[in-house]
Amino acid sequence: MRLTDSTQEAEFRTYVRDWLADNLTDQWRRDFGATEGRERIDFLKDWQGRLFDAGLAVRSWPAAFGGRDAPLAESLIVFEELANADAPPDVFRIGVRIIAPMIMELASEDQRTRFLPHIAEGLNLWSQGFSEPDNGSDLSALTTRAILKNGKYVINGQKVWNTYGHLADYCLLLARTNTEAPPHKGLTAFIVPLSTRGIDIRPLRQINGQQDFNEIFLDDVEVAEDAVVGEVDGGWIVAMTMLGFERRGISVLGFACRRLFQRLIDVARVTSTRDGKQRLIDLPGVREKLTSVGIQARIAVLNNHRFAAMSGGKPGAETSMQKLHTTELNKTMHALALDLMGKSDLTDPHARSQFSEWERDYLTSFGMTIAGGTSQIQRNIISERLLGLPR
């Protein structure tokens, strides 16, 4: 058992830190932090490309697909250092951490060659087309239909909660190809270029003011047969594989939680009560709450390492525990942040602008206990798959 870096890991960590020190400043936050749209995406694409060139992106991927075959521990070091450096958000995470690993496992050789390099380098942005208005948690009952006609699949239907669809190049779409079979055995996964005719993407306004996700309307959208990933009618395993990787991806939030804890400590240290007489960090009630979230943040980081050692490369149902724990902790910590900011003197413009930033992040935290399988669904998964309780 070793809870410190090996010599090799320590060297790698130093490399990552040095690279970040040389390549990342706060400037991006000022330029693009609150905006949306093409400029921000272009910056983030550039950022992903630089991470790739530095050997930091997709490090644990097989070398054949652009990775370094590195052990999972190194990927965790990258995630941890990016979190500690308040690095830009990873908009490529859907492609890089969810779709690409699935493509490596289940897609054809041709599809791997065609798509993986561009995902790794940030040349393409991907989104996921699973949920529908009537089928969210109960995904297998989805109704978007794909019918084979004259050598092409014609797709009709509607998707929702489609993150980055308005900016993405491709969508990994799940549609029904068989209405006779039991629901989860009649689905097929397709790679759909979002420039295809018949696709209408409408942004949805989120409570945090951003418009990162969309409704997608598909009206006689035609895709070639080679757009199928895996087997026809074998889309469920594609979806489940991706959801497993998605949960692992969201669990990286554990490192972000610890960083968030540091930021909360900093806020409490520098912020005074309204009467100016005490620092927030000296108030007993504040210390108690900070201690509580600090403990959970430590758990989140330790769990990341312990679970990684358990499952090797393939995420198991333990990722549901990480997802449930870290997203709920993230929500609690953001609520605490608003509490702290609320105690400060908001007549001060600087405090007010900080408060606004925290407000946005607080609202975003509500999405995380819902996306990728709600907390309630995660509890079902945990109790059924890890404890063996009956469905």
Partner: protein
Amino acid sequence: MQFSFTEDQQMIRDTAESLVARSCQMTEVRAFGDGQSDFVDALWQDLAKAGFNGALVAESHGGSGLGMLEAGIALEALGGALAPVPFLSTTAVADLIGRLGSDEQKSRYLSKIAAGQISAAIVGCPDPAHRDENGALRGQWAPVANAESADLLLVVVADTATGDADSYSVNVIEDIKDSCTVETFDTMDRTRRGFGAITLTGAAGVPLAGSLDGDGYARLGAILAAGSAVEMLGGAVQVLEMAKTYAMERVQFGRPIGAFQAIKHMLADQLVALEGLRSLVWAALWAIDNAPEEAPLAAATAKAVADQVALQLAGENIQIHGGIGFTADIDAHLYVKRVQLDRLVWGPPGIHTDFLEAHLEEMA
């Protein structure tokens, strides 16, 4: 990082589990609660023979020369089985004597500890003893584990005479009944007996050759906190298993009660809490052996969470069992009672959370 057990450690785990399954069965634990203690000596000997009692004793003194991680492996198994043996106090005492004792003191005690011939109790951490104006040792502690049966009592004394806030001597008392008043402290935990209220009556015992500085005192505190936390982890693992099994077997409304989300989600939350505790506990034990400057914070975190999670799981185990959980007919109550004592015996409830709050900024 490689946050997993090595093969050797896994083997030690297997040994501990099968030893405890053989030598500490629930029927015997229940009988112990009713006054029968025949099996306890045999269990203590089995633990010694397997090298566990000597985990923190150097090989030159007949020990296994292992670490707190390995001692923790034994403690987890013992906690899960509700074993009535003073493993933690004796282990902590062995560590102190090994570090501070003169050659004569080490020879006098360590091999006997490793061989399972003696057991120990310890007071003064937290709440060190002090000397009064006549230089006599004063102090009072309750409940003290193994107070009534210990062969050795170690007393940590604050050395205020030196003017150094962080200096402690450690006295060894062999004739406990002559040196202090030991009053029986009957508790709800019938899986352990011999808790006592100890009052020093002035007699000193013999100080160990070396003394403890702040780091040494903190190490002792970490051993007791992390050791208690891993014991409680063992119990928590068992009650979750018990609750899960019952939820799968008990049929009401035409299906196992584990099929209802109220129960399912409760158990899911329990598992998440348990896994969090596990991460903290093993990180703390590792730190004691490998990163001593991190150990006090790590151990306090593990113990603070153990106090809360072990109680939660033990209590919810009763809730899931319904009426029968409230009877003496099943074992659920034994775990609740044990946890209540565990929350008391190494410092008052909340002391570890208080420590964390005081060191909040170091947690970041």
